[in-house]
């Protein structure tokens, strides 16, 4: 049960955090140019964005859940299970961020998820 809760916190924390950050970054808007000065201005806009600061604690929660999980379970179980976040993140991108996830993209995401699980399992 605690492992299930830990995995839920790990996966939902990182995906919700990244979704909040993506939403924030979209409202910040891209840097005018990819030059140091423009990127610094872009970062200054980012740290004034509320969604960015919503995402950061969620990602910290996810990291904390990872540390707890690693103290309970072997790494060869925890990291492959965390590969599920590719699928959960894509669902979030589709239903929360309104991104158009085509069949090709879904197929790619599922292959990546399986691949990461296999690589992490060793």
């Amino acid at each position: 049960m605690r492992v299930f809760l830990g995995l839920a916190a790990l996966i939902l924390g990182s995906t919700c955090g990244e979704i909040a950050i993506t939403h924030g970054m979209k409202s910040v808007g891209e840097p005018a140019r990819l030059r140091p000065k423009a990127v610094l201005r872009f970062l200054a806009r980012t740290v004034r964005n509320g969604w960015f600061w919503t995402g950061i604690p969620l990602m910290a929660l996810s990291f904390y859940a990872l540390l707890l999980l690693l103290s309970w379970e072997p790494i060869s179980l925890v990291i492959p299970a965390s590969a599920l976040s590719y699928v959960v993140g894509t669902l979030g991108a589709k239903f929360i961020l309104g991104e158009d996830v085509s069949t090709a993209r879904w197929a790619g995401v599922i292959l990546v998820c399986l691949g990461v699980a296999l690589v992490a399992a060793g």
């Binding site: 990819l34 961020l97 691949g115």
Partner: protein, 142 residues
């Protein structure tokens, strides 16, 4: 469309930068912590490890790379889809496996090679889709 091509190229460059920074950061962090040695889980051991960590140049270089990763990740998310960037970033696992074989002469299990192939095919599939499917908001004036 020229702007579409430009979008693809700058997304690709940023994703590569992300992958390079994340891998370099993780490898250096691992090397830095290995130099410090196993941390004893006592108040004294943790305090000592903390002092050694902040005094280690390797750790600081690692942290700079990880900051570079975070900045490139946020930058690419400012124009590209999350569902495009996130799976594309998994390419790093494949790169790491190749690096481990070439430089560290690590033995890689068949299961892991299957995983690397799946990741590469998956990333290629995602890479073919449009990097951005949501509406472009009014460009932030910089």
């Amino acid at each position: 469309m020229a702007s579409e091509k430009r979008l693809r190229i700058k997304t690709l460059v940023m994703v590569l930068l992300m992958v390079v920074c994340a891998n370099a950061g993780d490898l250096l962090l691992k090397r830095g912590m290995a130099q410090i040695g196993a941390v004893e889980l006592t108040a004294h051991g943790i305090a000592q490890a903390f002092v050694q960590t902040v005094a280690s140049p390797t750790i600081w270089v690692a942290i700079s790379f990880l900051i570079g990763f975070m900045v490139s990740y946020m930058t690419v998310l400012s124009w590209a889809d999350y569902s495009y960037v996130m799976p594309a970033g998994a390419f790093g696992y494949a790169v790491l496996t190749f690096l481990a074989v070439i430089f560290l002469h690590e033995a890689v299990s068949p299961r892991r090679w299957v995983g690397v192939v799946l990741i590469c095919v998956g990333v290629l599939l995602v890479g073919q889709t449009k990097p951005r499917t949501t509406e472009v908001p009014s460009e932030a004036v910089a």
